[in-house]
């Protein structure tokens, strides 16, 4: 089991949290949806695993490179 950090690739804000800590996730599942430039940009899991931690909540502003979540994979 390894921990994998999920970082934001864009600047924007957290529009909706889709998965909660403890939830199982499959590769390409949306963990959360960010809002940037009036678009809803899904943040996808890169591998199968479990969502260990959320580092942001709905409404939070995020910048490129910011930690969003941690997966156990």
């Amino acid at each position: 089991m390894a921990r994998k950090e999920v970082k934001s690739e864009i600047t924007g804000s957290v529009w909706k949290i889709v998965k909660q800590p403890g939830d199982g996730v499959g590769e390409e599942d949306a963990l959360m949806i960010l809002e940037s430039m009036k678009m809803e940009i899904p943040v996808l899991a890169e591998a199968n695993g479990t969502l260990a931690e959320l580092a942001v909540k709905e409404g939070d502003p995020v910048t490129e490179g910011q930690l969003l979540a941690v997966l156990d994979v």
């Binding site: 600047t11 940037s36 678009m39 940009i41």
Partner: protein, 520 residues
């Protein structure tokens, strides 16, 4: 009498050259996960195609007038073939004095030199395998004076950028001159973990700024490729790097007086992809995968993405349509909603000029809401870099085809059209355009009316709905202000017909592209 003794001495001298810096230096080099320059040339070029030039250059030692050994010049170069086509190729030999310059009468290569003259005179592509750290302060002690910066030959490196494809591959740690040389390329690549590139390495940085950084932190692929775009692509290892160079050159003509090679394809030009009909979500706020869209349109497995990890709001790739090379510039709605930021603008400018120089027609797949907005974007000079890319598009003379997938707004939208040519724009039914998107513009244009309404929010939404009613691309098509609206499934067939038809025209405008004026 025969010349056999001399022939044998030649053989002996060539064997010395083959030994490079000697078994120990080669073993040390291998232990860092790096191949020697001779192994690199063999790995990259067609088998047995390398005709070396200048193999005897070096420093001989003599005992009683008899040759006892030669330390070869730290640069290996010559003529070779890649996929059957000739290239001029050279690279520093790091196992001899770290690949630094060595004071011959004529430079072999590196920055100018014979190999670059060969590319220029024979109009063949140049491949630079860079593995040298540049100047050293020890040269002052050797010469008795300091050397004025720059070498004769760099002007040739610049000249080549308008004449033949130039590929630079950073194979080791490059600083100073070799690092600078790496940038003077139409396409550059480096190897993850085993190559780094910077203006100056960690010791200089620590002395100048007090920053303690490793070579990898300062100039590894993550910085140079992903963050800075200094180098275009990153390869997994040296073998992957050679495969990428071969692939890149397969799209390029031998020089600007030729057209890119046409490849055989069994992918029907009229292939109709059902998946294109619902790839763009009806909900305007939802993005989609532009790379998947591109793959469905171009010849199967024909893409080669340039700068895949830098300026990700734009996708730039070389591909084929019915066997003919095209450059695809597509906005990526997953990043900034496709808005053009500084990095995306820089990437688009370079790619446009690359395609224009080598007569590669451009297909724009447009989904751009405009330039990136906000304080960070303004501070980064988005407007200036964005206009530079618009300038490059309006200056280019290679044919461009514009397909509006979704949004096409503002200056960034204008920069996707062929204003010097046919100005041919087609659109999907999902397309929308204007000087700015409705939701951004209504509040500004109707401010007084909205503020004085009993329910301003309601009035805002009503006005938006009213204006959106005019947004159908079919209304613009009625006015012939967009040349066509097409079923997304017809995209490939439609574009292939025009790419095929323009081949004759492309042949009439080969040669050096002169670009007058001062880009903003």
């Amino acid at each position: 009498m025969t010349w056999k003794p001399e022939a044998e001495e030649l053989e002996l001298r060539r064997r010395y050259a083959d030994q490079l810096g000697g078994p120990e230096a080669v073993a040390t080099h291998h232990s860092k996960g790096r191949l020697t320059v001779r192994e690199r040339i063999a790995g990259l070029c067609d088998p047995a195609s390398f005709q070396e030039v200048g193999k005897l250059a070096g420093k001989g030692t003599y005992v009683d007038g008899k040759l006892a050994g030669v330390v070869p010049a730290p640069y290996v170069m010559g003529l070779a073939r890649i996929d059957g086509r000739p290239v001029a190729i050279g690279g520093e030999d790091f196992t001899v004095r770290g690949g630094t310059s060595w004071g011959s009468d004529r430079r072999k290569g590196g920055q100018g030199g014979f190999v670059e003259d060969l590319a220029h005179e024979y109009r063949i592509p140049l491949v630079n395998l860079i593995d040298g750290a540049g100047g050293s302060v020890t040269s002052a002690a050797r010469r008795g004076h300091t050397v004025f910066p720059g070498v004769h030959g760099f002007e040739r490196s610049v000249q080549l950028m308008g004449e033949v494809p130039v590929v630079c591959a950073v194979m080791g740690t490059a600083a100073g001159g070799p690092a600078g040389r790496a940038i003077l390329a139409h396409w550059s690549v480096m190897v993850k973990d085993t190559s780094q590139v910077f203006a100056a390495g960690p010791p200089v940085v620590e002395r100048s700024l007090g920053q303690k950084l490793t070579k990898e932190e300062l100039g590894g692929a993550h910085v140079a490729v992903d963050m800075a775009g200094t180098i275009d692509n990153a390869a997994r290892d040296e073998a992957d790097c050679f495969a990428m160079i071969r692939r890149y050159l397969s799209y390029m003509p031998g020089n600007v007086w030729e057209l890119p090679p046409v490849a055989a394809t069994d992918d029907p030009p009229d292939r109709r992809e059902e998946a294109l009909l619902d790839i763009v979500p009806r909900e305007r706020r939802q993005p989609y995968n532009m790379r998947k869209l591109i793959a469905l349109v171009v010849d199967r497995d024909s893409t080669f993405e340039i700068q895949p990890t830098f300026g990700r709001a734009i996708i730039t790739l070389l591909a084929r349509m019915n066997g003919k090379v095209v450059g695809v510039i597509a906005n990526n709605p997953m990043v900034n909603g496709g808005a053009m930021d500084v990095k995306a603008a820089r990437k688009q400018t370079h790619f446009l000029q690359l395609c224009d120089t080598f007569h590669i027609p451009i297909i724009f797949l447009v989904d751009v809401p405009g330039f990136m907005v906000g304080l960070q974007a303004e501070q980064a000079a988005t407007l200036r870099e964005g206009m530079k890319s618009v300038y490059a598009a309006l200056q280019a003379t290679v044919p461009m085809l514009t397909v509006v997938i979704r949004k096409c707004y503002g200056m960034a939208g204008m920069g996707t059209t062929d204003k010097n040519g046919l100005d041919f724009k087609i659109a999907w039914p999902s397309a929308e355009w204007g000087s700015l998107p409705v939701e951004g513009g209504v509040a500004a244009a109707y401010r007084r009316e909205i503020e004085s309404a009993p329910d301003p929010q309601k009035r805002l939404r009503e006005l938006e709905a009213e204006l959106r009613a005019y947004a159908s691309p079919l209304l613009t098509a009625e006015a012939f202000a967009v040349e066509d609206v097409i079923d997304p499934r017809e995209t490939r067939a439609y574009l292939c017909r025009f790419i095929d038809a323009m081949q004759g025209r492309l042949a009439t405008t080969v040669g050096v592209k002169l670009r007058a004026g001062v880009p903003p």
